[in-house]
Symmetry: C2
Subunit: 392 residues, 2 copies
């Protein structure tokens, strides 16, 4: 029950948060925002360091206001105050929650009214890849109670801030990637033909936890003859059989940071056609990794991976992209796809995730995680073997 | 690696969903809604039976439209179609996602335009205990593209539907409550003084999974001398010591349904004052259980529990309520608190969760889960022992 890197302690020093806020404030200036308001747990945690599994309960909203100048202000239910006081956040406003007739609405409005004004605009999580964590009706109440301050879409600004990771963030992603890499390498000794998909997932989930993950919020395990029909649902009661491809994907966490990568296994013998598809997707992954350099675009990553897959006779796939950003969420912007247009910067953590349907109903999807550095891409996962590992 | 009730199979027959839709349609009529639109995973799953861990990724919205007459219609990203086709849902519309410039917006608008109109109102998850799972800006686009149809707050209608559970739903909640009850009973053999809170949580999480839970999304473990300072954050690196109260809360799942109850343990010797607080909270739980009868109000539950705690010298607590609804989410309406006003009906599943601070920084909180029947409350958890179990 130890982590693979016992030197890596939980939590961040105050200077980390000061650095994040300073960077955020520069971005806010360029987006002409007087403040951003965060409600989504990873955003709240990003600026406060506050962690709570209690966010699993949707009853009470939590807010953190990061002004363009000065320190962040928390507006939270009373139940959260004792522990929030132990973070670096100094200004904390609370209300007795739940209070459905006014769950933080008037308190948040009052804090926002006090934010120094220059642009008259406050950004909230209203756009791409954000589901605001408060009732929409309450947002409307906040909007109506403010005068001289407009609530606008802050998502582009927030994602600009979070897309580039700090060294300490990368350390945590690397750590969880290593834990899961080791668990994946152990799968052939853990799982065998005759297990159901459910049993296989249960065994792997326990193994990942044993190795030091805090949680495993995402672990589909899917099997099918020569490939899988889809990659988003499962496990099912299906029993794993000779000739199957067994596919695991996993989003596990350490100290609030995710890994997100998959692995494929051959159950006994698989056909030469399947092996050729495996080789093609492995090569596409290679191409994607090599292309993840500063200055390239996410569109380029898609193009180089797509080229390898097309030449191998891909029938396409329904995933819509070949990877994405990774950090405090299983998936984050950008998307490796045509039209995304994100220019890759040092510090971005990306998944490289090519996949193809090589015959009707038979998909092979690979995935690795990397950080982009000035010196090129650096893998955070332990690279999948070129040939499919075999499960007996 | 077996479940405690191997007869309980995953999934529901079609008649279960037909019954849910029929009931929903009656409620929609009384709320004067032509349709409800569901985006939040438990709501989507409630009407479709579709399960996916993929919802961990916030990139793509998913929609299910339940009209006042006729069958539900799904509007989903292409990636979800193969598996959704295996559910009872027959009408499925897909778009190639992600497509940030139009992620389901025009498709959802077109489906809503085709819904037969009587009231000109469509309900969405805009109110209490709902965080709409789509960008607010996209909601605004849908609103603007509709003519003659108003999008209104459908939350009260949706919660009316989901608050009363079917027998099959209760079976699943009972099953996961039994699994976790057995794991809690095993804690004194699993965990000992000298373990850190993190190690203790890791051991318990693995034990709950071994016993047949699908996942453990919520498992704070908190320790403190004679009681805990708060109940929402943790585990920490703190080492469990003699004289501590060790508190676990847990939300574990089976087939999409949650348990949510806690347990307290004495680490070695604890003071008589702590034992008296334990007795008071245990008695308050008894009172809460007995009061959970058809026709009572959630306010009454709070009152009877509060009376016991006040008489025992409670300094109050910051939780704001003494329990809540339970089902496909860790917490659901109603709230056992003054002013909630929900009249208790047969089929409601509730947590009974009294707690008090009996000395500054020392809280004791208990919790049990029950289903209300015409014949009175029936516990789903195995009742906590009256005296604190001891950890060596």
């Amino acid at each position: 029950m130890t982590t693979t890197n016992p030197e890596l302690e939980y939590g961040f020093p105050t200077e980390e948060f000061e650095m994040r806020v300073e960077r955020a404030q520069r971005k806010m200036s360029s987006h002409e925002l007087d403040a951003i308001v965060l409600t989504v747990p990873p955003n709240f945690r990003y600026f406060s360091g506050f962690e709570s599994q209690f966010w699993e309960s949707p009853t009470r909203p939590w807010f953190i206001v990061v002004p363009r100048e000065g320190s962040p202000v928390a507006v939270v239910p009373e139940i959260g105050a004792p522990q929030l006081e132990e973070t670096w956040i100094e200004e904390i406003h609370t209300w007795p929650a739940p209070r459905p007739e006014d769950d933080g609405v008037s308190l948040l409005s009052s804090v926002l009214s006090d934010v120094p004004r220059k642009h008259g605009r406050v950004g909230m999580e209203l756009g791409r890849e954000h589901s605001l964590r408060m009732p929409v009706e309450d947002l409307e109440s906040v909007r109506n109670s403010l005068s001289g301050v407009e609530i606008v879409n802050g998502s582009p600004c927030i994602w600009e801030i979070r897309m580039v990771k700090t060294d300490r963030e990368v350390d945590r992603i690397r750590h969880i990637c290593e834990i899961v890499s080791d668990a994946y390498a152990n799968v052939p000794t853990l799982i065998s033909a005759g297990d159901s998909e459910r049993e296989a997932c249960r065994k792997l989930r326990i193994d990942i936890l044993r190795r030091g993950a805090d949680s495993v919020p995402f672990l589909p395990g899917i099997s099918g003859p020569g490939g899988v029909p889809q990659i988003v649902c499962g496990p099912r009661d299906r029993v794993i059989q000779d000739g199957d491809i067994l596919f695991f994907d996993s989003g596990s966490t350490f100290d609030g940071y995710f890994s997100d990568f998959d692995r494929n296994y051959a159950v006994g013998d698989v056909s030469d056609e399947t092996k050729r598809a495996q080789e093609a997707v492995w090569q596409a992954t290679e191409a994607g990794i090599q292309a993840a350099v500063v200055g390239a675009k996410t569109d380029d990553l898609h193009r180089v991976m797509g080229k390898v897959l097309e030449e191998a006779g891909s029938l396409g796939n329904n995933v819509g992209r070949f990877g994405h950003g990774l950090g405090m969420q299983l998936t984050e912007p950008p998307s490796n796809m045509p039209g995304d247009g994100t220019v890759i910067k040092a510090g971005m953590v990306l998944t490289i995730e090519p996949g193809m349907e090589y015959a009707p109903g038979k998909m092979i999807v690979h995935e690795e995680n990397l950080v982009v550095t000035e010196d090129g891409p650096v893998l955070l996962t332990k690279r999948a073997p070129r040939e499919l590992p075999i499960i007996g």
